[in-house]
Symmetry: D2
Subunit: 431 residues, 4 copies
């Protein structure tokens, strides 16, 4: 495996932090021991955690008002992979990349797969794109794709998804994520039921093209780009469609795609109960699909999601393996830094959820000892497991402090020289 960041630098950086980490680890270990927990087991558990990074997350994001590019943004899928390799090298928590087509469409799929492999990476779920028109594309998605009233548009969108499956097979993926922004901006624009019927017809064709060991993930979203009625707007619709389609179809939960005040952890519990929890797009939000860094706005909510996942894992056993992916837009930070710290935030919630003694919790719930049941979760959430996360990284060959190590490496400066900015990239002109 190629190390993008010099392994010696990582070792040097870790050495500087070693004494502090050991002391913090011992201090935390003592506290956990007094609570009947074994820190090393938790560290080993932390090392099992993996979350995919989205290829597009390596670039700077923006809004409809503007995009302010960063330095050294990757210009193609190979440069994106290089950035992703940095993230995994330092965090040891992001061994796979979720590509997006046609943005990342390779001329030679096996070359792409080999490049990833050489960087220590594999490919996670592939993402199709029928929310934009590509140059030279025959049909426009202006009025919808899989739900379009035009059979030709739907056929084009279906064919694109099937092509995504084919590329995905070639690069070792096993799942297709279908997000469509299709919907209406005005009451009356769509026949709401007709649109979903056409969606299901289109999806049945895509479903039929899935290899036997693949899944298709249906991603719902309340609004944006459609502003009155989004065809796949909520988990209820996603669930009903996944049920219609069959066992390979599952629901994907993006943490920013819900109505205000929605209890997301309960949706997780519901989908797990009914066998349709496919996976996650992790991020955080305060208003809408803000695509902020995971855990940056409401870290307790992220913990509560993992609390449900821990409950489901206890019930379902090995079979329970939802796909984890980050899906964030990095508008004002270095994407590599945001993805590294976000991976750690999700991993943190995973480890914290393991601190809960579920037998004790169940007992408190059965006795309606509400206050103590609530405190049981709060105590786990309050535990600062940072030393466990750092030790898990170090033991796996990563960096004790990934952001500091990355900054010390000068990687961004180096690629800024190699990857000149595209002219006129700023200002979308869309208001």
């Amino acid at each position: 495996m190629t190390s993008v960041i010099d392994a010696g630098l990582v070792a040097d950086q870790n050495a500087k932090l070693d004494a502090q980490l050991q002391a913090d680890y011992e201090g935390l270990g003592g506290m956990l021991t007094r609570r009947g927990l074994d820190i090393d087991k938790l560290t080993a558990l932390a090392q099992t955690f993996a979350v995919a990074v989205p290829s597009w997350g390596a670039g700077t994001g923006g809004t409809r008002f503007a995009r302010f590019p960063g330095r050294g943004e990757p210009r193609n899928v190979f440069e994106k992979l290089e950035d992703c390799a940095v993230i995994h090298q330092l965090t040891r928590a992001t061994p796979s990349v979720s590509p997006h087509f046609p943005w990342d469409k390779p001329t030679d799929a096996s070359e792409l797969r080999e490049t990833a492999k050489a960087l220590g990476l594999a490919f996670d779920a592939v993402n199709s794109n029928t929310f934009q028109d590509q140059q030279g594309q025959e049909q426009s998605y202006k009025f919808g794709s899989l739900t379009s009233t035009s059979a030709a548009v739907r056929a084009q969108a279906v064919a694109h998804n099937i092509e995504c499956i084919e590329i995905g097979r070639a690069i070792g993926s096993q799942a297709l994520t279908v997000w469509v922004g299709d919907g209406a901006n005005f009451p009356g624009q769509h026949n709401l039921r007709g649109a979903l019927e056409r969606y299901l017809d289109s999806m049945r064709e895509i479903y039929a093209a899935l290899p036997s060991d693949w899944n298709v993930f249906i991603e719902h979203k309340l609004f944006e780009p459609a502003f009155y009625a989004t065809t796949i707007a909520d988990w209820g619709t996603s669930f009903a469609c996944a049920t219609e389609l069959g066992p390979k179809a599952k629901c994907l939960v993006d943490l920013g795609h819900h109505a205000p005040n929605t209890n997301i952890e309960m949706i997780v519990a519901r989908l797990a109960q009914f066998g349709k929890l496919g996976g996650f797009h992790f991020n955080d939000s305060k208003y809408g699909d803000d695509d902020l860094d995971s855990g940056s706005i409401n870290p307790f909510q992220l913990f509560l999601v993992f609390n449900e996942l821990a409950d489901a894992a206890r019930r379902e056993g090995e079979a329970f393996k939802p796909a984890y992916m980050l899906d964030q837009s990095h508008n004002v930070t270095d994407p590599i830094e945001s993805l590294m710290s976000s991976a750690a935030e999700v991993q943190r919630a995973f480890v914290q959820s393991a601190l809960v003694d579920r037998a004790v919790l169940t007992g408190l719930q059965e006795q309606n000892d509400v206050l103590e049941a609530a405190q049981t979760l709060k105590r786990a959430f309050r535990t600062d497991v940072s030393p466990i996360l750092a030790m898990a990284r170090v033991r796996a060959g990563g960096a004790a402090d990934p952001v500091a190590c990355y900054r010390a490496s000068g990687y961004r400066d180096r690629v800024a020289g190699l990857r000149p900015a595209k002219a006129g990239a700023s200002g979308s002109g869309i208001v």
Copy 2:
């Protein structure tokens, strides 16, 4: 049929308005003719409309902060029926009453049924109550009812629902509405999945007790009285449960029970598409489950709901018969006045939705003529069908202006004398 309001008074009141109503009706009829519509057919259609009134709606509602009683509030189910009879006599749109047990539990069910019949009323869906503790009740619902961790509590709640079915049979009802406020106020209080499993177990027992021609309606609600996680919080959960239970189980949509910004008409479309739309609790809201008068806050939304119902009726034909009920809390108005004008608002939306030429709309949707499709709905909604509603009432023996007629009748003054207020009824003391 006994007329609670003197029929002569109604006739006199109508006579005073006759000239104006005839002129308005002709004026509107002319406009509709120029648009290719026949006003008399619409009036005949309006006369087919019916919405149930809730027995509890006849009393003054309140909040957890206070309740400010009105004059002459009904003290028992017979007085409630009398008030409901006034509403139907004047509106001719509310031929049935939805009772709530144990509040309306009769000592003699056949007497209750006959009394209603004599007043021209029948009974709609019966409502169970497991969100309060009744005096002398063995088990408390403080920590849940159908979802309780206690088998004894669940058994009591199931038995109560089955008793509701029995009373319902005796009074001629054909549906049971189950709303449970069960849920948690704290993360950790419940095992979210366990609570729903217990709910389903309880509901299976209730379902088994349903007569062959009955339905059970599952009513979801986002929050209140539970403030962190409500077990039946959204239509997705309601739909999944109704699917689990079987064909007699359907979903009930209360317009105030959704997260902010939710597109309710789309939920209506989804439930209709998947065969699970049981009925409605009509009201309006701006913030939460405000239980305001139907159409008082967002009348266009009410129209859009009926636009979906018209679409479903066109597709499903005779088989499509969701149950309509008002469910409002009248805190600052005379409940009879609010229920009469609310019934008219729902009827208004029903008639307006019939103004839409669905073939034309479909054509515009297929051509993506978004602006004209939207305007097609707006034009129907903008049409002031008040003269149609008034004429429909007059032709059926009701009042041209129900509120004015009611005020002229002096009914409230009369019952205020007969129904003295309970002492100390104001001020819930709950903050």
Copy 3:
């Protein structure tokens, strides 16, 4: 004044509709007479209504996901003016245009002013832009503009605003609208108070540059492009800043810039009461700053806003003149059609608000006759004043049916030929 659309065509189109319009007008007039209202006075009132159109609204809008261009989009300020002239010619309700700099920056301001004048147009409030980086710009607004921690950035942003005032003076404007998207995406990114202090410092410099007969409008917005904390997020902040700055500073209310469930008409009442209501950006929304066509989602809310404006006008008299502007994003409709029908929707609410007898309403409010007070507003809102709007247009030389007339004119086809689409304009690449 140059007619962009052939005046003969307009006359022909109107002639076709004349009989129907006369009949509808008479029918409505009869109904209004029976309610004590004079339709011709209302038509004359309707003719006094004016709302500005935004220059950028003439182009197709988009989202961060994609923009799907329309045909014949204007490529510069002169083509935008031509489109705006069509809108005003047919609606007679949009005599002014609100320009946006630097997008519309003229090389010769007096030429621009004369061109507008020749088209029958004037310039309304000018809009500055410090939410995007322009090519060749020295300082970047990536981390803020008027609130930036960098004095150089703030100076550049202040200078741009002052330049906007200067151009505005040259083209006959009398107001500057300042909207800044400045804010933070992460807790900790900003010192929340420091950012507002810097904003006020910058605004004081801009305020000082205002001519004596100018106003500056502060536009608040809850979120987007900032997703954690927007510096000018709510009307409270806008009001406090306008108070700090002085009498020329007023608040602008955009209908889509509020938290969910906000009662916008009450904000209008508050700002009017405290003397700080500067004007409006009209549009509609269901979720966020959706920038949908005015009145397309919640027309009753638009009416209630005008109900407050009517109340304020009655209290304040002539002095009360808030600025009205449309601010919409036309993603799936022809922008000219949307702007014409939206202008009519706003005008509709204005006319409907004039149907309310405010003395009667006040009496009902004082007696706490809640139901009748509410019905008084509903009756005004339910009145379909379309014939008044059409007659007002026809009497002023516009089109009875602006959209039909525009379609008949073939204007879009004509400009599509003259204004070739820019290559590669679709797909923002921002996700």
Copy 4:
């Protein structure tokens, strides 16, 4: 000072936990030392923290649907004081009680004051009640109190507030909190501006009655009990009114009284900047005014509020002293347990906010090092300061683990015997 809980029991309980607390304290102290912080200084700081408890919080709360009483609920103000004394004895963080009139109206104010003093308690802000009708009250608040259209109703409400001030003086309070639920349930019910004008007139009379060293706190709330338009609905209105009234009038922030998605910490920053931050009602919420335990739903938000308070304290110095009060409804927990753990949660946020090196943070903000600025706050929030809180309690004579100690004391069992439940207390009958 009388100890309600046996001091020997507290000592015994603390002794059992002593070894673990010492070890945890040392472990945390070591970690903090490695980060340049002195744990004992933080413990001393924690000991300076105080938050008032509301007298009504000692009883079980409920919703409009039901109230499920707990055992041993206090039946009068003296029993409430006894419960509050327990809370302060064990937490050493709640030295004052906020009473509510007429609920807590004493026959002998000095007796009340002395009783409190003997229990180690003082009185914080007094609360008036014009949202309920009391038995024998002449005027009803059904249609408003301070905003009523009736002069007699307003006079009664003003007089009640002035009486609250008088009682408050007698028991040693220095502030009056005015919350009015006044508002409208229907568009048209109120003249929105007229209602606020009357509010201001009423408040001017109350303001005039304030002693020179008193403050009046204006508490805003988005909705409930009014469901369309609440007169004091948002911080903008509260701020404008406080400004109109004068320097003794300030704004009170209740964490559950805002629109969905509102950034509450920014409101705190704004009010601090403009000199109008009076104080807080701490609680937590997910949907509306849920009145859940502080920090139970979104603990990071509570931290961010204290982060702003720490910033304000740094800027304002000694002068900055907002009033802190808990305001929660304990529906499913023992109120004493909830108030003890909630006081600790607020104190936790206070201590965590002191972990932030503000000079470092300012530097990161000025350099736009967004990621590190955000991480600086997150690191402080992640630090589990539980040992500091426990040690602060023990050093001040309180309990290491207040809930465990309280349970061990058998206090609830004891008072359950002494305070029989009122018959028929369950079930509000309001739906």
